[in-house]
Structure formats: C-alpha cells, structure tokens
Symmetry: C2
Subunit: 212 residues, 2 copies
C-alpha cells in the first residue's frame, strides 16, 4: 500500500495513526500542499479530488477521505478493534468523531483560511479568532463526552477511533495557539495517546517530509 500524505495535514495524521495501530506497513509518498503537489497532473490521476490522504491499494484502486479510509481499515483489518462492540457505544464514538471531522476540521484548515483572506479581508488576528471560535465549540462537546466516559483513552482502556481523530485536532489547536485550559479531559487523553508508540510513529515530526 502507498499512503499519499503531508506531514502536517491532520487528515493524513489520522490515517497514519490508524495504520500504526493496525500494524500495517506502507510506503509513504509525500504530497507537499504548500507547493501545490496535490494539484499536479500526476497526483490528479491518482486522486482526482486533489486531497490528502489517499491510500493506493493497487494501481487504480485508491481510497480517499480519512473517515472512509479508517472505516475501511477497521472492516478489512479488524484487529485490534477501533470501535467498541455494542451499537449504542459505537454510535457515541462516531458522534465524537463526527464532531471533529464535521464541525471543527472543515472550518479550520488552509483552504478556508485562504478564502477568508482573499474574499473577506481576514487578518492574522481574525483568522486566529475564527479558528478559536470553531475549535472551542467542538472541544466543549468532546470534553463533555470524555468527562462522561472517564476512561484512559477516549472510550476505553485501549486507543480507538475517537483518539485517532482527537490527537491531530489537538495538534492543530496547539499550532494555532488555541488554549486547551478549559478541557482537562481532552489534555489527559491526548497525553496518554502521545505516550503510545502508534501515536509517536504517526506524529508529524516523525514523517519523511517533516522539514526538521
């Protein structure tokens, strides 16, 4: 398998954690989003959506979108499981995952920042407020879910899908200097994750395209 990834893309980071938890080997292909590699003719043939991550299983067999990819990994490589067994518990994990991937990340990324700058005269300060506003709305929901679960990782004593989505989002929050002081459970769980070897391996600074 080949993973097309950018070290700092939080969606790529999610898939790297899932692959590491499942102990799946893959080739890393760096796509530099700042240089526009994602829009090159070569990459558009692999992923017409011009997005990372993408997982190439064989020539022409490509899966895009990190959530679809993580669900595919769980279905095809069930050990260790990333979801609990009971449907209601699975729904609680997926609700938290959706908070990150539908309420925070889509609003807090380079494409949206660029549009705000070009079309809405956004400044460094207003972008900072924008990021903080949407991250905080989502983190309040995640914090409440984690306070209720009260486990070492998001939803249990081993890392799973919630942790896979939370850790890259918190990495982004720190990058954009969004305070995490109001979210002790988020900080506690992310600290536990970052001590786990799968999360260390998947971290941005461990990737071949990390500028160092």
């Amino acid at each position: 398998m080949k993973l097309y990834s950018y070290y700092r893309s939080s969606c790529s980071y999610r898939v790297r954690i899932a692959l590491a938890l499942k102990e799946i080997d893959y080739d890393y292909v760096a796509i530099n989003l700042l240089d526009g590699d994602q829009a090159s003719a070569h990459y558009r043939e692999i992923n017409p959506l011009k997005l990372v991550p993408a997982l190439e299983l064989a020539p022409g067999e490509v899966i895009g979108q990190s959530l679809a990819l993580c669900e595919w990994l769980e279905e095809t490589h069930p050990e260790p499981p990333l979801y609990p067994t009971a449907p209601l518990e699975r729904a609680r994990v997926r609700a938290m995952v959706t908070t990150v991937c539908s309420e925070i990340q889509p609003l807090c990324n380079m494409g949206v920042n660029n549009y705000l700058v070009s079309q809405h005269d956004a400044t460094t300060e207003s972008i900072q407020r924008w990021q903080a506003h949407w991250m905080e709305r989502g983190f309040v929901a995640v914090e409440s879910a984690l306070a209720e679960s009260g486990t070492e990782f998001c939803f249990g004593s081993t890392p799973g899908m919630g942790d896979i989505f939370l850790v890259p989002q918190v990495y982004n929050a720190r990058r954009f200097k969004v305070s995490l002081d109001a979210y002790p459970n988020i900080q506690r769980v992310v600290d536990a994750c970052n001590k786990h070897p799968a999360f260390s391996t998947a971290a941005p600074e461990q990737q071949p395209d990390y500028p160092g």
Copy 2:
C-alpha cells in the same frame, strides 16, 4: 423513538430519509432553530450539544450527529441495506458521504453565515458566493463519483447512504440558488430519489413544523 428535528435542517432531513427507508416509526418533535429552541434548558437536557437531529431511544439514551445516527440505524436495522457488501465499495460510498458531511455542509449553514456577517462584514452577496464556492468544490467531487458509478441511485439500483446525504445537500443548494447545471449526474440521481416514497415522506414540506 423520538426524533428531534427541524424541517429545513439538512442533517435532520438525512436521518428522516434513513428512518423512512428502514420503515421505522417514530414521534416527530420539532425544534425551531430560528426561535433558539435548541438552546432551551429542556432541550439541553436531551442533547447538551444543542444540535438537531437527535434520536431518543429511551429517557437518557440519545444519539446525536446524523452520520453516527445513520450508521447506528444500519447496524441495528440492517434491512434494507444502505451500503454495498464489499469493503472497497463501502469505502467509495463513505468517501462520497464524507465529501458532503465534511466538505460542504459544515461550511454552508446558518451558524457559519451568522459568524461571517457578525465578524467579517459579510453581505447577502458575499454569503451567496461563499455558499456557491464550497458547494461547487464538493459537487465536482460527487459528480465525478456518480459519473463513474453510472447507476440509477448514487451507488446501485436501490437508494443508500450516498443518496441520504446527497438529496438534502441539493435541497440546500436550490434554496441558496447555487446552479446545478454542471452536474447532470447529481440532478439525475436526485430526480430518481425524489420519486421514491421514502424521500417524499422525509421532505421538508411534509414535516409537521413546515410553515406551510
């Protein structure tokens, strides 16, 4: 089961379609987002996230987030199936679903519009351009997936998860006068869906809180 819903919320609309396809009876509880019902003390006890939809299975057993809800329905009420059987095909459906629920809807909704108006001096025209920009980016990806599948519904001869997410997004696009001329496959599939009884039942104008 009780479904907390707002007739015009595209995320509520998704769950209404899924419930109708599964032929599951439920009580409809209207939450008027314009009146702020979602932030009332009563509703916050049911869903602390202050969002619709939410499905109440029993007092205290509530599932929020439409994607988590649809996956839960599929796991607990498997007939008729909303996904194909093969993992790679399921991944293709989930990638399309994610395009709608992580790349279009989160950017094109009332909360984001309100923030743009209050913090970025957005006008009716700039909001219209904003909506068109993000909807078009997502629709190009969906159109390409549907052109490849070439089936009556998004991914097969019966409606499934792709259709559940596509139809409410197209309803929103029409509401905001975003042109669909460039997307013949999207138009064709949505026309087929709208002739299906589950989709008619779930339509905004059929809900008890439709202002008429």
